[in-house]
Structures are given as C-alpha cells and as structure tokens.
Amino acid sequence: MLRDLIPDPSKTVDMDHGQLVVIAARWVLVVAGLLLALWDPAGIGVLRVQIVLILGLAVANFFLQAQFLKNRPVLRDVLYGASVADIAVISLIVVAQGGFSSHVYVFYFPALLAISVAFSPAIVSGFAACSAAVYGAISMATLDPGDEVTLVARMIMMAGVAMCGVAFQNVQRDRRTAIDGVRVETIDDVVDEPSVAGLPREAILFQTAKGA
C-alpha cells in the first residue's frame, strides 16, 4: 500500500525553471487574490468561496514549492492538476463575482503565461483553448448585449499570451539544443575523467600537449 505513495520515476518530472514560473505565478495569484478578497468584500457568501479556494491553492503551491526546495521530482499529473486547479479557481471566482462583469479574469493572463513556458506546446494549446472556452461560456451566460466584442478581444489576448510563451519556449529550446551540441572539454575535465569519447584519457592529453 505504501508503494502507492512512492512516485514512479517514469511518471515524474524534475522541477525545472518552467515549473518555478508556475509556482511564482501561483504565489502572485494567492497573495493578490487574498488581499483583494479581504479588502472591502462583496458579501459573506462570495468571501467564503474566495478564501477557501485561494487558501487551498496556497497549500497546494506550498507542497510544490517544498518539493522543489528538497530537489525532489513531482508526479507529472500533479503538475497538470495544479495548473487545472489554477484555471478552475480563477473561473470559480469570476462566476462568484458575477461572470463577465468581474475584473478577476485578468488573472488568466499570468496563469496562462506560466503554463505556456512550463508545458509542451500541445498541452499549452489545450490549456489555452479550455481556459478561453470556460471563460467564454461563463461570460456568454452573464454579459450584456454588445459586450460580445470585448469578450472576443479578451479571448484573443488569452490565446496571444499562450502563443508568446510557446514561441519563446521554442526559441530557448532551440538555443539550448545548439549550446548542448557544442561540447568542448577542458584539460581539467579530461584529467578528471577516465575516458573521453571512447578514447583513453592519456591519448587526449597527449594530443592536447602536442597541439599546445
């Protein structure tokens, strides 16, 4: 039974820089959301929903932050689930505040930015499409006639933010690939290693000395 608690390495990912952006974005959401919720709250019902959702998100984010601080991998599904929770929490707060008239929808932008640099383009596209669809559905049920255009513009911007993240992620991946393709070893490295590229270290040292 305890085995269920031990992550399978094939289903885990290292907490790389993209995930750190997700964690940082979530802290922004938690802190700003909590401050704005507590400042002149609209009603006790809405306030309860906001506090429960935001503090739940804070606890989940603390778990992920702790995993990073301990240099431990995290289940990939947990990361996906946490990002789904971000979008769900923002959507629920938008619903609780009246749908289209709520100003909280701007939190979708940093959330999508973080997702766009942390996951693969296909996953990002899915997140962006689902976020826009959910927000569109919420808004269509609550907007006044004539606001459809504003809604479309907001959805285009959500797609734009996700697209920018994907484009930059692709640029950086290509550059990393180019950098990793250039492996120039120093003499110190050669000395420390028993063999380099299948050659014994003495051969490399000899060639290096001859070259010098």
Binding site: H103, L113, V152
Partner: protein
C-alpha cells in the same frame, strides 16, 4: 575579457532569436484591436479614425517581421523603440477611444502581450523599467480619464488588480528569461582554457 564578450554575445542572441515573440505578440494585438474597433463603433468616421493606429502597428510589424524572415532582425534600440510605440498607441486608445475610456476601456488588455514579449526578449535591467513605466502610465491614464475612480473602492480595486497582473506578466517573464537559458550553470559548453573556444558555433 572572454566572459565579457560571451555576455555581449548572449545579449545579442537574446534579441536576435527572441524578437519573433514580439512580432507574434504584435499580430495578436492587431487582431484584437481590429475586432474592438471595427465592431464597437457605429459611424464610418470613427472606424477611419480608429483603424489608423492599428494599421500603423501592422505596418511596423510587417517591416520587423519581414526583416526577421530575411535574417536581418532589428537591433535592441529598434526593438525598444517599436515596443514603446506599441505602448503609446495602446495608451492613446485607452485614453481617447469611444465613450469607454480609462479604466472602462476594453483596450487595456492589449498591454499584456506587449509587456510579456518585451520581458521575454530584453534583459531584466531594461524590461523591468519598461514594465514599471507601462503600469504607471496605465494607472496615470485611468486617473486622468476619470479622477472620480479614486473615490470608489471597487474601481480602485480593479485598477490595483490590473496593475498587479500587468506587473506580474513583466516580472514572471523576466524571471523566466533569467532562468531558462543561461545561464548555463551546468551546461556543457566549456572553453579549452585558453579562450580559444569557437563560440560562433553556438549560433
């Protein structure tokens, strides 16, 4: 000396490879701006007036994206100037366009991709002042358009919410810029100790 040259080269590569993100962001701004202008006005004269700034942004992007496709991307000064023009045009739309100006303007969302793309491409020492200036400009324009917003908690909250998220876009992108590529702490590029590594191969 070698480190200094590498740093300069990396900074140049950031602009060289990254500015496609700014181009894409600008295309989305053009799309959203056209939707907002063409379908929110009733009079022909307003359409003509409104479409001019969008066409200007589009022309800039044709030029910059064309240069990029021809392997002649813009230098940092031009990237900075065109992004500043983007912010200026959006600010004019927020301040003057139609009856909904300032905080009520739907155009403020166009700031988000501009700030994001700029922070992805430029180093934080440039992008963070750009973000701060944009947030301050937006807040100033909202107050200028309708000073009475400061007397309502709801509108002040909305302004703060937008400012925080806009600042977060710039801040998070700058954070990713710092951590994503370099700064290859454990990267495999190593010099031969004599400064003779052919760093041109990286490009």
């Amino acid at each position: 000396m070698q480190n200094s040259n590498n740093a300069k080269r990396e900074a140049a590569e950031d602009i060289f490879y990254g500015q496609v993100v700014i181009n894409w962001a600008r295309w989305f701004i053009v799309a959203a701006g056209m939707v907002l202008i063409l379908w929110t006005v009733e009079e022909k004269s307003q359409v003509v007036m409104g479409i001019v700034p969008i066409v200007a942004i589009m022309a800039i992007n044709f030029y910059l994206h064309g240069r990029l496709l021809a392997d002649r991307p813009a230098n940092p000064a031009l990237v900075g100037l065109t992004s500043a023009i983007d912010i200026g045009v959006i600010t004019i739309l927020v301040l003057f366009w139609s009856e909904q100006t300032g905080l009520a303007s739907p155009f403020f969302i166009l700031y988000y991709p501009v700030v994001l793309a700029f922070a992805f491409v430029m180093p934080p020492k440039v992008s963070i002042p750009f973000t701060v200036t944009t947030v301050a400009l937006f807040a100033g324009v909202c107050v200028l358009a309708a000073p009475e917003i400061l007397s309502s908690v709801t509108t002040v909250k909305a302004l703060i919410l937008r400012s925080i998220t806009l600042a977060a876009m710039g801040g998070l992108a700058a954070y990713y810029w710092r951590t994503s590529l370099r700064r290859p702490s454990a990267k495999t590029v190593r010099s031969n100790g004599n400064g003779a590594q052919d760093s041109a191969a990286i490009a």
